[in-house]
């Protein structure tokens, strides 16, 4: 149960500014839209953190007006709030005053209603639409006139004389169904407008009608390259709420699995970045070695991509008798071949030309956009949750937090390559000492989480993954929100790519390493 400060909408912007300036709350972790029904109204919960002190603050605000709910924007204080507020507008219909770009983020522009409201019936109002969505070149902004009335204004995204190229949703280098509208001048990028939502599944809404064990199945399907870590976060959050302590054996298994998953994800990152740059041979190197991790997963979990392994209070099944042996074979093997990766790719002069100094993201922007994970650490922001707020066994093992200062694509690449080595170090420290014990704590057949709000954070393969849970004591969550690791990266892409070449967009896309199902939850 966490303390949440309540601030009235009128005072919100001033108070937020004060927090940002005086208490150095420079990192907006999450912005969660909420529907508390008729008494509570529609509102937002802000999770803030200071990168200096590590202090956390939760703030909530709400408006009773359900017809035309309005809240002040904070997008001028934290850049990422731009996208987060669009998400809340999309789901709850809360209009943020002075927000420069009040479009829907995930759903179609012609969608009727706001599906996350508890009284909304999306299927009734939105029959299957057989026409294509129109693409708008303008966006509404809502401001207050001095006399308190509302003024609507159209902001232009692209004007008709601009050469706008559509990259995605079906494009080989958007790593999934992501769509960018890119305004070009020759080959130079002038502006990028990311359009999300092509595989939006409303997982958070579905969770509200699923029991807690059922919600687990869907987290694996968000960032499928961080399936273990995501599920670890949700299990941890529910366990924290229930006051369940998992056995040391489970802690060991979860930590090892998380790190194997991280190596898996980073190998895939290497492979895909190489392919984006046109190097097909390194691509196969990455996939060749990733296959060995998937084999290890398959033996223990049954699945290769979607593992469904962590459960509330433990793990699905005990580790396979071969697990320790195969992991101990794999680590020296990977150490032995990793020099091939550097020989063919890292030290290649063309790769250096393409990555060094390209796509700069400053530390301030990384924090303001909330670009965590390898992308943040490449910009000099030490944001590793494993060090900042240790969970699992990360406070007991010895590993280095990789931080680079440059903030370019090459630093983002090197962070991941170095993290593979650190992950292997972590696994080596744990693999021989897995203690005996139960792999699953006995849980009640029906899990009811006590009333309150809870959150848990883990370092997933590509950044800080967070779970925010509000329970009203039922067997289903009242609201379950996931902090997407990819959305901040996509939000920052316009800043990163300004005035680079179109080929750099592809390289930057590869180097910031997002996974689309995690953005379109």
């Amino acid at each position: 149960m966490e303390e949440i400060q309540v601030i009235e909408p009128v005072a919100l912007h001033g108070e937020m500014l004060k927090l940002r300036k005086e208490k150095q709350m420079d990192y907006l972790v999450s912005l969660v839209g909420m529907d508390w029904g008729d008494e509570g109204g529609l509102g937002v919960v802000y999770l803030l953190r200071s990168t200096l002190t590590g202090e956390n603050v939760s703030i909530k605000t709400a408006t009773k007006d359900r017809v035309a709910p309005e809240l002040p924007t904070v997008s001028d204080i934290w850049k990422i709030a731009d996208f987060y507020e669009r998400e809340v507008f999309d789901f709850y219909g809360i209009v943020f005053i002075n927000h420069p770009d009040m479009r829907r983020l995930y759903l179609r522009n012609d969608w009727v209603g706001y599906p996350f409201r508890k009284d909304d019936d999306p299927e009734k109002e939105n029959p299957l639409n057989m026409t294509n969505e129109s693409t708008d070149d303008t966006t509404p902004e809502i401001e207050f006139n001095p006399d308190g009335t509302i003024k609507k204004q159209e902001n232009v995204i692209f004007d008709d004389r601009e050469y706008v190229v559509n990259i995605g949703p079906q494009h080989p280098s958007t790593h999934g169904v992501m769509r960018f509208r890119v305004s070009l001048e020759g080959e130079t990028i002038k502006k990028i407008d990311p359009l999300c939502g092509y595989i939006f599944r409303a997982i958070e809404k579905m969770d509200e009608s699923l029991t807690y064990p059922q919600t687990l199945a869907l987290v694996d399907r968000m960032d499928y390259l961080s399936a273990h870590q995501n599920r670890h976060a949700l299990c941890m959050c529910i366990e924290k709420a229930m006051g369940v302590e998992v056995s040391p054996r489970v802690q060991y298994i979860r930590t090892i699995m998380d790190e194997l998953q991280r190596i898996d994800s980073h190998l895939l990152f290497y492979a895909c970045l190489a392919m984006d740059l046109g190097g097909l041979t390194p691509f196969f190197y990455g996939f060749r070695d990733r296959e060995k991790i998937l084999d290890i997963f398959e033996e223990t979990c049954g699945g290769r991509l979607i593992m469904n392994y962590n459960t509330i209070g433990g793990v699905q099944a005990d580790i396979h008798p071969n697990f320790v042996k195969r992991v101990k074979e794999f680590i020296p093997y990977l150490r032995g071949v990793i020099h091939e990766y550097h020989d063919i790719f890292t030290n290649n002069v063309i790769v250096r030309e393409r990555l060094v100094g390209v796509g700069l993201l400053s530390r301030e922007d990384a924090i303001s956009y909330g670009c965590t994970g390898g992308t943040g650490r490449a910009s000099g922001w030490a944001c590793d949750v494993r060090k900042r707020m240790p969970y699992g066994l990360y406070d007991k093992v010895d590993f280095k937090e990789i931080v680079y200062k440059e903030g370019d694509s090459f630093a983002r690449y090197m962070v991941r390559m170095d993290e593979i080595m650190e992950s292997m170090k972590i696994i080596e420290q744990l693999i021989d000492n897995i203690p005996e014990g139960p792999y699953q704590t006995k849980m009640k057949p029906i899990i009811r989480v006590p009333e309150g709000t809870y959150s848990a954070f883990v370092e997933s393969s590509r950044g800080e993954f967070g779970v925010f849970l509000e329970s009203h004591g039922d067997k289903t969550p009242y609201r379950l929100h996931y902090r997407s690791t990819g959305l901040p990266l996509v939000a920052a892409i316009d800043t990163i790519c300004r005035d680079t070449k179109i080929a750099d967009l592809i390289a930057i896309n590869g180097s910031i390493d997002y996974v689309v199902p995690d953005i379109d939850r």
């Binding site: 190229v165 080989p172 046109g278 190097g279 063309i350 393409r354 179109i502």
Partner: protein, 358 residues
């Protein structure tokens, strides 16, 4: 040394005995044309199969291995598949230019292909400005690419075509200059004479330092000319889906595909002819016994052996290096290759004037 002109002379004589000379020449032209097309198609199939196998071995894979022994008729099957595919013309394209483009590309490729001296006496187009003609007709290809990009009415295609225009026209300079360097040494532009003059040593060895520099520059620029990695920006599948041929299907796409592989072969065989002696066997002055043994190997085997060796070099490069960016490609050409080529040309002239070559 096996002389192919024995066969052509015999054919000519036997045709003359049954028909007037005009008809004989017309018939011979048709036969030669059909032979070129057949050889073109066969070479394309061999090259595609070779590329698929070679890149597979570079990438820890096996490559095609199901259709036929070692997958050797996989490409033949692919060609038949391509032939049966529907040729789709998208709605808003410039129909004339769109349909013309692949023929321009394949035409340029055929014309350059016809210049190659395959064996002693087996030159098809052989006249005193052979190299000049080859450079000129190979330039037609870029028109086809530009037409494809413009006619497709697709933004990706257009960007691909613009890149291609900038790239090919730039690198033509380096190709031209490195050829010019060699012409200074060779003293002729006729392919048959070029090969004959290498009887006492290949030009790569005769021209030593400047020839080696010209050879390397020619390989880089030639690789860029045929739009292959690391210079495959006009297609850049991860950026522009397929670049200038995004909108093409069926055999229209097939023409681009064939031309790409044959251009690779043409670049390699020109390198083999000018620098590595063409069909001329390896001769070392003073070792007559060795030279006589080498002469027993027929010329076309030498020619294809050398050409495929260069093809392998270019494939090796393609499957090792990632892709450059457009500004880096132009920097490489205009700031490095072009000045080096110019200095190299002067160096070669000095060496030829002072007689410092072999």
């Amino acid at each position: 040394m096996f002389d192919f002109s024995i066969i052509t002379n015999w054919l000519h004589q036997s045709l003359l005995s049954v028909m007037p000379e005009v008809w004989a020449v017309v018939l011979e032209c048709v036969i030669v044309g059909v032979c070129i097309i057949l050889m073109y198609a066969t070479l394309a199939i061999i090259l595609i199969y070779g590329e698929r196998k070679i890149c597979a071995f570079f990438q820890c894979r096996l490559g095609p291995n199901r259709v036929g022994k070692w997958g050797c008729i996989q490409v033949v099957a692919d060609v038949f598949k391509m032939l049966t595919k529907e040729i789709i013309t998208p709605n808003q394209v410039d129909k004339f230019l769109y349909k013309l483009a692949p023929y321009m590309v394949i035409l340029a490729s055929f014309l350059t292909f016809a210049c190659l001296p395959f064996n002693k006496g087996a030159e098809i187009l052989d006249f005193n400005v052979g190299i000049f003609f080859l450079l000129a007709v190979s330039g037609i290809g870029v028109i086809g690419i530009l037409l494809a990009g413009w006619g497709s009415n697709n933004k990706f295609s257009l960007i691909g075509a613009m890149r291609s225009g900038a790239q090919i026209i730039s690198y033509e300079l380096s190709v031209g200059l490195s050829m010019l360097t060699m012409v200074v040494l060779m003293g002729t532009m006729q392919f048959s004479q070029i090969v004959e003059e290498q009887a006492d040593g290949w030009f790569l060895f005769k021209g030593h330092i400047p020839a080696l520099i010209a050879f390397i520059i020619y390989l880089i620029a030639g690789n860029a000319e045929c739009n292959r990695g690391p210079f495959d920006l006009p297609e850049a599948e991860s950026e522009l889906t397929a670049g200038y041929h995004t909108e093409y299907s069926g055999m229209n796409f097939g023409f681009f595909y064939l031309a790409e592989y044959l251009n690779l072969f043409i670049v390699s065989s020109v390198a083999a002819t000018v620098f590595l002696g063409g069909w001329m066997p390896l001769h070392i002055v003073g070792l007559d016994g060795f030279n006589a043994v080498m002469d027993y190997i027929p010329g076309f085997i030498w020619f294809f052996g050398k050409a495929f060796f260069v093809v392998f070099l270019l494939m090796w490069v393609k499957w090792t290096f990632p892709r450059l960016r457009i500004d880096q490609i132009l920097t490489l050409e205009w700031k490095y290759l072009l000045p080096i080529s110019l200095v190299n040309l002067v160096l070669m002239v000095l060496i030829v004037v002072t007689g410092f070559h072999f």
